[in-house]
């Protein structure tokens, strides 16, 4: 009887709560239509990942620090799939920087490294952030850094600390202190209208900034090598036009508005040229444009579709998609200061649909979309051996983009009818983070280059 009563109680108490949640969701929908804000979902860690302890950073004042740096570092490291940071309740103590550390207690945890740090206010809107990573077994300091920053830079410092830790332990440069660009699309079923938003956020999805909003499609964001400009395609004039926009000032100019298609912009590694697709001469061909002068060099010449160019990091070759053999496949062509410097060579032979390829930063691999049994998946192709490795198991993958350290690939996919972004390690390890928007689809991720300090 009493059991029955509690059951009813539970049901009864649940209802108003869910009503409140529904109301909140509703309010979010109607009150913030201007923002696309990414939502981060952590899918759970990995047994095989290396345990590491990140102690909450000390804060000398009452209340909490303006930014929980340790928390951001923990989530960065977990997101890499390589580390499995200890939970707060697994920490045996919270030692201070320069204080005593009871290493015997730490040896009883799974962690092999221990990170401790402090945030100290040192002036008007100025903070000093210090951290230190220690080896639990040798008790030696492995790395230590100090930063002096403003409040709005604390998140970025957290990502830089993650990069230092990652680099020390993996001998590879970290890519946490980077940005991602992406396009968000919202469908309004009532008015049958769509809103397209081009946005940039930190690599973990926080700190979103709107670059462009439009009622017409926005496509193909592409980073300049210095990370300060984006080229993209906008249909705001009812046809595809390539624009170049300064992120800081919002200033932009038209790069290409030729007759026909203007699409797939890709900066050369020196930032002076842009590879792009134009159909001004009849059908889609790859061109190189000198950005300052607007001078064009035609790279391909074929009646088939040639598009989706991507530069090698030495700037000496371009890979692109072409259906000159009947179905889309990836081709490579040598380029030089005079433009085309060789003939196209086919790179992909496995499968009847390979497209949207881009070089890994070291130039040894490319990532692409391949069709496997009717499913479109992210794959990598090892250029030396021709080995094609399919990395994902989904069916509508698009726009794979390497992290600047080449360790992860961010791509767009579809989950339960919604467009989301997922990351995967280049070894095929599934990464525990997924980015999506509250309402609408997020797609076309483009990972920024390394940021200057």
């Amino acid at each position: 009887m009493s059991l029955e009563a509690t059951k009813h109680m539970k049901l009864f108490t649940l209802k108003p709560i869910s009503a409140v949640i529904l109301l909140l969701i509703y309010l979010m929908f109607i009150s913030s239509p201007a923002y696309a804000v990414l939502e981060v979902e952590i899918k759970g860690g990995f047994q095989s990942a290396n345990p590491i302890a990140i102690v909450p950073f000390a804060w000398p004042r009452s209340g909490s620090a303006p930014t929980d740096i340790a928390r951001i570092v923990r989530s960065d490291l977990a997101r890499s799939g390589i580390f499995s940071p200890l939970k707060l309740n697994q920490l045996p103590e919270r030692p201070a920087l320069g204080g005593n550390i009871n290493f015997d207690r730490w040896k009883n945890t799974a962690a092999e490294q221990l990170v401790i740090g402090a945030i100290t206010p040192i002036g008007q809107d100025l903070y000093e952030v210090k951290f230190q990573m220690l080896d639990v077994f040798s008790r030696q300091e492995m790395v230590a850094y100090r930063y002096t920053v403003k409040k709005n830079q604390l998140r970025r410092v957290a990502h830089q600390i993650s990069d230092k830790i990652y680099a020390k332990l993996t001998h590879t440069r970290g890519a946490f202190d980077t940005l991602i660009a992406y396009v968000v699309v919202k469908n309004d079923p009532g008015s049958k209208k769509r809103t397209y938003t081009l946005a940039v956020a930190d690599s973990d999805g926080f700190g979103e900034q709107i670059i462009l909003k439009s009622r017409k499609p926005i496509m193909s964001p592409s980073w300049s090598p210095n990370g300060k400009r984006l080229a993209y395609v906008s249909f705001e004039k009812d046809r595809s036009i390539i624009y170049l926009q300064e992120l800081k000032t919002g200033q932009r100019k038209v790069l290409a508005q030729f007759k026909g298609i203007n699409s797939a912009p890709a900066f050369s590694p020196d930032g002076k040229r842009l590879a792009l697709t134009l159909s001004k001469d009849g059908n889609s061909e790859i061109y190189i444009m000198y950005i300052a002068s607007g001078v064009l060099q035609r790279i391909t010449n074929h009646y088939s579709i040639d598009t989706e160019p991507s530069w090698s990091s030495d700037g000496r070759s371009i890979i692109f998609t072409s259906d000159r053999a009947g179905k889309p496949q990836i081709y490579q062509i040598a380029v030089g200061p005079q433009g085309k410097a060789g003939n196209p060579r086919r790179l992909t032979y496995e499968g009847d649909y390979n497209s949207n390829a881009s070089y890994s930063p070291d130039g040894k691999n490319i990532t692409l979309i391949t069709r496997v049994q009717g499913q479109y998946r992210v794959a990598t192709l090892e250029l030396d051996t021709g080995y094609l490795q399919v990395l994902t198991h989904s069916s509508l993958d698009e726009s794979p983009s390497y992290a600047p350290n080449g360790k992860m690939i961010l791509y767009a996919t579809e989950l339960r009818g919604r467009g989301i972004l997922e990351a995967i390690a280049v070894d095929g390890r599934n990464l525990p983070q997924r980015l999506r928007v509250l309402s609408g689809d997020v797609r076309e991720p483009a990972w920024s280059p390394y940021r200057s300090q």
Binding site: K192, P217, G260, A264, N283, E444
Partner: protein, 194 residues
């Protein structure tokens, strides 16, 4: 012919049309809840693969799209606003990764070509679209290829190049938002916009 007989014949002609429209709208509901434009009805008809039914299925399409018809103003005699004219078919559908025009598509395009040849002042936009599968930039080019194939077909049928503007949206402007074959079928299309 007496007036009575005329009405009788008209009724006989209209009844299957009404039934068909009813049919196609149910199939639309089943296959695609998120349909956003009335074009889908025409498409549902085309899906049946019979040219004539495709045309009648397209009944609502141009008629509704055309303001004068919607406002119930007097019939101008322009075949463009005649819902029974093959000119009411303004959407041509394609197979996956293909730019080949079907027989149904060809007969509709022939009607448009004939009309445009008669009215050399009229200019249309030929807009190519694809489904969401595959990659975006490739699809933008594929949409343009479809639009060009349609424009070339019209040109071969006597339409002047100046009367046609070719453009592509690739996979960026779907009419059906689901992620399945019935939605994809509706999205692989070229639209003729007068």
């Amino acid at each position: 012919m007496t007036k009575f007989l005329k009405t009788f014949i008209l009724l006989i002609m209209i009844t299957p049309l009404l039934l068909l429209t009813a049919c196609s709208s149910t199939s639309e509901d089943e296959t695609n809840n998120a349909a956003v434009e009335d074009r889908t009805e025409g498409a549902a008809g085309t899906q049946n693969g019979e040219g004539y039914e495709g045309q009648t299925g397209g009944y609502n399409d141009s008629g509704m799209g055309d303001d004068s018809a919607m406002n119930g103003q007097s019939y101008s005699g322009d075949p463009l606003s005649d819902p029974n004219s093959p000119l009411s078919i303004r959407t041509i559908y394609f197979d996956y990764d293909s730019a080949q025009i079907s027989t149904e598509g060809q007969s509709a395009l022939n009607a448009h070509a004939e009309y445009l040849s008669l009215y050399p002042d009229k200019v249309i936009t030929i807009e190519g679209h694809t489904d969401e599968r595959g990659t975006r930039e490739y699809n933008l080019s594929l949409g343009e290829r479809r639009a060009h194939v349609v424009a070339d077909f019209m040109m071969a049928s006597g339409v002047s190049a100046q009367q046609m503007k070719v453009t592509s949206y690739g996979e960026e402007n779907p009419v059906a938002l689901d992620h399945n074959e019935s939605a994809w079928q509706l999205n692989r299309r070229v639209e003729l916009i007068y």
